[in-house]
Symmetry: C2
Subunit: 496 residues, 2 copies
């Protein structure tokens, strides 16, 4: 130990002592960890010669075998080197590493509540029923059910989903045409890669539309071609002009505008798909919820060879479950499944068995009814609160889903100031303009662009996409009142 | 109804009658379904004019409102058309569709048992503890925990995994460098896409190696560059010559050869990575299981800036859970997480909370100890059975993991016949030659190539990769005896 590097060894000493004092059962492992840490942290410098195992054992008061084991272990791992005759030393390659914490900026003034769309009421999640289903599944699933899953999905879940969609959504589905995936986003990614592999370059998207789909298409190597909507749905002429041979649609309840595609438009689009050898990708994100009549059946039912249907439990149970489905034309099934395989080998097996059980026992239908009741009540509460505090507000779109489109009378503008005041009052709002596509197909409110407040409509009129599903009727009323108060600070709330 | 198409309407009649007889509560929905089905199946041809709602209601004995609702619903969906004055008719676009069943060939003579590697013993899965953890998690997780997950993984799981890997595998991991994914396959896919995005064209893979990785790299738009192994690990000279700037490795227990990379080779590869600005991707697929000494720590611990570490619960709990992790260099984290986001938005939230709970309570360590005991016993049983029935067999590789490499004495060859006889006796075997890469980097035993039996080594000597983890010691002994009997039919089992 009469080495110029003795100091660094001494500095490591304090790391080793606790190991020596540990209970006998854990002593060996702790000694190895401490020595590894001492090398890694640089407390023992590269090149430092270690005391002999006999010496170190005596110094620490531990058995020599423990020290020999530690030296051998760390030599095998590359932290130490040894050779007959020159003992054991710290090898040169182990680098001191401090993994820096990613500091993320904490934003100030995050609104406490708000009408941002996209979230269901997570308090409606049926915890007790879900937990019971998990217990039943674990009690009955065979051992083989814990192995690598079928990448296309568990057969019993595909059968249950086919039955569910046939019954509730008018989808033409056999278990063989169903692929289980983690949700509509993954469905879009799977189809995106598949279409790219078939030579597609662009996929048409609705403008305004869901900005997330654009990002997914880009990641799959495609571009998004924004195609404008009119009152009946995506414009077929503009679609034909876009050059895309596939289009992503929300025909049962367009997001965000809230319209349902007309029957005529459904046909025109199917005609386009047949003529162009194209594919329509139907995103049925909230098709279960309709409040004034039975939900309109899926577009897919009209021509299953030309429509890929996608849906999930994200609005009906919880997005955190990451469970969804696709019903796809026969000629695409193998390609999509192979892509699913290389992406994740398939969805978790127990989650799938659980959902199959949940559907088969009628628990899923019960949950849909429960959500339907709650969301209708909330929509009514929002429409009433808007009428009370912002008289003259026009609520457009069908009575469905988890959001409304509200256009406030001109006197409440300009929109930028309206949004700012609402945010100051703790109520987050999203303007419809956020969902317009930019000329390059990128969404208007992607973080790279201007903040939401700057995206006011041309005329400055307040035009909002308001999600209501996650708020109780009382909170909805309170939040709308808060906005009204904030708009005219110091004055009593409007039109009481 | 004095229409030439009356026949097709009559044919649909039988579909509608059961709906009319249904309980009042379900009658409306059943009528709609029946009518939709009648159109879809072609029983009512396109262009057929339907009876008026009054007529049909009278014929069926149901209220007129039900029929009106059904007509409106199917008109909105596009199955029917209507106009004032000319009534309601079946529209032209709804196509009769029969989704064909995918018939998959059922293979004959599938071996009943076998030593195919890759599967743990699924009967060791701790069902009771897993179920209890699920219940506890559902009882305590806040509602927000059911929302869209963080694509990098649940914070508490990343912390638990960082602790686990630091403690058990000598990995340098902070929660910020951990990304939760669905397993090593998805980790490879995520890294593959990320590397391709950074301009990589090829990734070096071990030859022999795991054929699955090659397919994953191809799907990510990369090619696999096979690099030969020698006794110390992947050859650094061949790696440098490959032109790849990333390499996928199994340094703690090479698959399939069973060697552990030497400490010197670890350094040489890290030196290569630093000089080439390259990345080593460590697949620690079975690093928890070592039977003769403590497991060798992960390569990643020596230089976390140059090694991406990947692992999963597939060998310790069950592949069906689809849960794994990556610990990646800081500069790659954001790119990998963004790719994960576009691929599936993140792993299921409850599954992650469950595993975090399982690790934190010590259940995961208990499970590892249980598997370690079972697998050591099975390895011993296999080695003993080989010694008994095939004396002179050389078992190579470290005493670790879930498989051994067995080279039988020359007299048991040629390999092709040996494999065939074993398969006839109901025992599946996989020769080492199956894992050799072809010149184009594709695995030797991909389905497009010659069947396994044709892949005998040059000299016809029997050289097997034998997975034993999924078989009890008794079944292992029985299966080896079966092979021995099959080899010399009619003769008593060898060397009893």
């Amino acid at each position: 130990m009469a080495d110029s590097r003795t100091t660094s060894w001494t500095a490591a000493w304090e790391l080793l002592l606790p190991a020596a004092a540990a209970p006998p059962r854990r002593r060996g492992r702790m000694l190895q960890s401490a020595l590894r840490e001492a090398v890694r942290s640089g407390r023992i410098a590269a090149g430092t010669r270690l005391p002999s195992s006999r010496e170190l054992a005596a110094d620490l008061g531990v058995s020599r075998g423990l020290v020999t084991d530690a030296y051998e272990q760390l030599t095998a791992e590359g932290y130490l080197s040894s050779s007959r005759g020159s003992g054991t030393w710290v090898s040169g390659a182990a680098q001191a590493t401090v993994v820096r914490e990613h500091k993320r900026p904490v934003s100030d003034g995050v609104p406490e509540t708000g009408f941002l769309p996209g979230t269901p009421d997570l308090s409606l999640f049926p915890r007790a029923a879900w937990s019971a289903a998990h217990r039943r599944v674990l009690a009955r699933v065979p051992h083989s059910g814990l192995g690598y899953p079928d990448p296309r999905g568990l057969p019993e879940l595909r059968a249950a989903v086919a039955g569910l969609l046939t019954r509730r959504r008018g989808v033409v589905a056999a278990p063989e045409s169903v692929v289980i995936c983690s949700g509509v986003a993954q469905a879009m990614t799977l189809l995106g890669f598949t279409l790219a592999g078939l030579g597609h370059r662009a996929v048409a998207v609705e403008d305004p539309g869901s900005p997330e789909h654009t990002a997914l298409l880009l990641a799959a190597g495609l571009t998004a071609a924004p195609v404008p909507l009119n009152a009946e749905g995506l414009s077929p002429a503009a679609l034909a002009a876009s050059g895309a041979r596939a289009a992503q649609l929300t025909p049962c309840h367009q997001f965000p505008s809230g319209i349902a595609y007309s029957a005529r438009r459904r046909f025109e689009l199917l005609e386009w798909a047949r003529a162009a050898d194209g594919l329509l990708v139907e995103d049925d994100y909230d098709g279960d919820f309709r409040y004034d009549r039975a939900p309109v059946g899926a577009l897919q039912g009209l021509d299953p060879a030309r429509v890929a249907y996608t849906g999930s439990v994200s609005k009906s149970l919880a997005p955190g479950l990451r469970l969804g489905w696709m019903v796809i034309p026969e000629q695409l099934v193998d390609l999509v499944v192979e892509r699913k395989r290389t992406m994740d080998l398939g969805n978790p097996a127990l989650d799938q068995a659980l959902l199959a059980e949940f559907i088969e026992r009628g628990d899923y239908d019960r949950q849909l009814r429960r959500c339907q009741r709650a969301y209708r009540e909330r929509r009514d509460a929002l429409v009433a609160a808007l009428a009370e505090h912002f008289p003259g507000t026009e609520v457009t779109g069908i009575a469905a889903g988890l959001h409304v489109i509200a256009r406030l009378p001109r006197r409440y503008g300009p929109q930028a100031r309206f949004l700012e005041r609402a945010a100051q009052a703790g109520v987050a709002l999203r303007p419809l303009a956020d969902y317009a596509c930019r000329p390059d197909g990128s969404p208007a409110h992607s973080p790279a662009h201007a903040p939401a407040g700057a995206c006011a409509g041309d005329d400055g009129q307040v035009h909002l996409v308001m999600g209501y599903a996650h708020l109780s009727p009382a909170r909805i009323a309170r939040a709308v009142a808060l906005i009204a108060d904030a708009r005219a600070p110091g004055l009593p709330a409007t039109s009481r």
